[in-house]
């Protein structure tokens, strides 16, 4: 089966599990009450949320979302190092996700379905375009740095306030495996496709990893396929696991932080 077909198949399955998992979570939330009504249903809950935003006004709502929901002002107050690690991980993840969506859209829809061949679209689709290669490599590195800081704090520094349980470790392992396994894929691709040094070095980590291997007469295309499938499987597993894991907080906490700050502002004590 072609590599891309496997990629999309796995991602489609993961997306289905992700959506089902999110639906499961939301169905649990909706067993609680909204404005005094028990089990109100999703439309009523959304209407209540919208009323809160309208009472607060768009400027205050956006400010709360940006400052407390996304930038996590209180985490910054708690410690710059922790905020930095979190920002690397979450910011890197969000940017990488957006970049992947853009690449996928350009590859499958604009080029694949619509036959668009605009130079900008082709630059996004091509893996070795300097900007794309640098962005992918750097965002992965940013996330890895954040991951290393988070894991170092949890497992080495071990401040007294942390409580490490199996779900924390499962998440660290799965996310770590997803991040780390991306670089060998790139290294093997550079060798398998014979990408010249002046182009390949934009993927600076993958390129560095590929250097000691270049003289070996190994079946690079097959190794690249294997590494790609492994990376895709792990990444898909992580994606599917999100709604069932602690990482789900990345989706929920911005909503909660924003809503609770707005509630305190529009319902003054």
């Amino acid at each position: 089966m072609p590599r891309l077909a496997v990629f999309w198949l796995l991602h489609a399955a993961a997306a289905a599990v992700f959506v089902a998992g999110c639906g499961l979570r939301v169905s649990v939330w909706l067993q609680g009450s909204v404005e005094g009504r028990t089990a109100p249903g999703l439309p009523a809950a959304l209407r209540a949320a919208w009323r809160l935003v309208r009472r607060a006004g768009p400027r205050r709502a956006l400010s709360a979302l940006f400052v407390d929901g996304l930038l996590h002002r209180r985490l910054l107050a708690a410690g710059r190092g922790r905020w930095f690690a979190h920002a690397c991980l979450l910011g890197g993840f969000a940017a990488m996700f957006a970049l992947s969506l853009l690449t996928g859209f350009c590859t499958e829809v604009l080029v694949g379905l619509l036959g668009v061949h605009h130079p900008l679209v082709l630059a996004i689709v091509a893996k070795d375009t300097p900007a794309m290669a640098l962005a992918n490599e750097t965002l992965g590195l940013v996330m890895l740095a954040g991951m290393a800081l988070v894991a170092g704090r949890r497992y080495l520094v071990r401040p007294a306030q942390l409580r490490t349980a199996a779900p924390d470790t499962a998440l660290v392992l799965l996310l770590g495996a997803t991040l780390v396994s991306g670089y060998p894929v790139e290294a093997l691709r550079l060798i398998a496709e014979g990408v010249p040094a002046h182009v390949g070095w934009y993927s600076y980590i993958g390129y560095a990893l590929s250097l000691p291997l270049r003289g070996l007469a190994w079946p690079w295309p097959a190794l690249h396929d294997a590494a790609f499938f492994f990376h895709t499987t792990v990444a898909s597993a992580f994606f599917a696991y999100v709604p069932f894991s602690k990482f789900f907080h990345a989706l929920v906490s911005p909503l909660v932080a924003t809503a609770n700050r707005l509630r305190r502002e529009v319902e003054p004590a």
Binding site: V28, G32, V34, V256
Partner: protein, 421 residues
């Protein structure tokens, strides 16, 4: 025997909050109860993680696929114990990076536990007592004016008259003699400022906060309805109280419980008094009474050093931090010193959330720590704006044999008001 979990007592937002918790442990680091008693069931993270685990067991993917797993009664008992070893001080809410609104969450959990019959027996009995006697002391409610007997004008005419302002005294100040000087001071100060006010006397019922805090608040609406009707009958436009918990309950819970606006303003005594001082309706002289310093302060002596303790229900839960400080700074000869933890991050005195009834030793330990912070400022007295804080801190100071005095802000102000006698 295992139990099943019903989620109807929580709001959808609270169930979202369980998923929003990042397990960062910031609440663990700031929890004053956990700081005194290092038991894993006490801190906020444990409560959230436990309930979240139960939700997973009964409503998660595995439960949907293979059936629900029950919750053992021993787990419920352990959870409930930790839940009530909390003063509802909400310091955890102030530091939570994702803004989890812990106070209503803890209250919903307590209601849940009480509904399962897992609340501490003393708190279940409290509910029955309040509903039967209309006060937390279990006394004859007609005796609510005991504090007024020693007023120069006596209790005569205080209750039942029509006035612009109703003073809601609260159970602690009405029935615990060590707190009598708070309503005495406030009543005389209002008189001195020429503010016409009335009290409800036997028509004042417990505000219902102790029941809400205990998780047995299903009857609180009846108390609210009675109290609101009693105030409306006086024609007052303002209700004032010196009790932060009463204040918070009137201000935040009553409109929700009754489903309608009250029709009059609710204010804490410190707000009213600060306005009276700033409007020049109360003339203040140097603090001259020897209650704090012996011999009494005289001209030329160094200023009286006071430190202010923010009551949780007044500060964090109601947002009133500056009015009491403005009042204290307005008193000539007073130097206000801040404790290490103040305002949003102030330590709790240990007297909130019905903790004293659930775990008196833990409450006392928390009070000790707060007094130590007060002592570190070099202050001669710790001043609060809450009768329960005064009661808890005074008891701890007495037990520890500390020379530090514990005063309520109404007492300090009354001793500074230029008046005859």
């Amino acid at each position: 025997m295992s139990v099943s979990l019903k989620l109807g007592g929580y709001t959808a937002r609270q169930l979202m909050e369980l998923d929003a918790c990042t397990r960062c442990g910031e609440c663990v680091a700031w929890c004053p109860a956990f700081a005194e008693r290092r038991e894993e069931s006490i801190h906020p993270l444990a409560k959230i993680a436990c309930l979240k685990g139960w939700v997973e067991r009964q409503y998660g993917l595995r439960a949907r696929l293979f059936g629900r797993r029950g919750i053992e009664e021993a787990e419920v008992a352990r959870f409930s114990q930790g839940l009530y070893q909390c003063t509802l001080c909400t310091r955890c809410r102030e530091v939570c990076p994702v803004h989890i609104d812990t106070r209503p969450l803890w209250l919903a959990m307590r209601q849940h536990m009480a509904g399962m019959g897992a609340a501490p027996p003393a708190l279940s009995a409290l509910g029955e007592r309040v509903m039967a006697r209309h006060n937390i002391a279990g006394e004859d409610n007609a005796g609510r004016l005991g504090w007024a007997a020693n007023l120069p004008q006596g209790a005569e005419g205080l209750a039942g008259r029509r006035a612009e302002m109703v003073y809601f005294v609260g159970c602690v100040a009405s029935f615990y003699p060590q707190a009598y000087s708070i309503p005495q001071s406030l009543a005389q100060t209002l008189e001195a400022a020429g503010v016409g006010f009335a009290v409800l006397g036997g028509e004042e019922w417990c505000c219902g906060f102790p029941l809400l805090a205990a998780g047995v608040g299903s009857e609180a609406a009846a108390l609210a309805r009675h109290n609101v009707e009693a105030v409306r009958a006086t024609g007052a436009s303002t209700l004032v109280t010196a009790c932060p918990s009463c204040y918070h309950t009137w201000q935040r819970d009553y409109p929700r419980l009754l489903g309608e606006p009250l029709g009059f303003a609710v204010r804490h005594a410190t707000e009213v008094l600060a306005e009276l001082v700033e409007a020049g309706r109360l003339k203040l002289r140097p603090y001259t009474v020897g209650a704090v310093r012996e011999p009494p302060l005289r001209g030329g002596q160094p200023p009286l050093r006071l430190t202010y303790h923010d009551p949780c229900d007044l500060g964090r839960n109601s947002g009133i931090y500056e009015a009491p400080r403005r009042l204290l700074r307005a008193i000539p000869g007073v130097e206000l010193r801040e404790m290490e933890d103040n305002r949003e991050l102030a330590l709790c005195c240990g007297g909130g959330g019905d903790l004293e009834m659930a775990d008196a030793a833990l409450s006392a330990a928390m009070a000790r720590r707060r007094l130590a912070q007060a002592q570190a400022t070099g202050a001669e007295a710790i001043v609060s704006a809450c009768q329960q804080c005064k009661r808890t801190l005074s008891a701890a100071a007495r037990r520890e044999g500390l020379s530090m005095r514990v005063l309520d802000i109404t007492e300090v102000l009354w001793r500074s008001v230029a008046h005859d006698g």
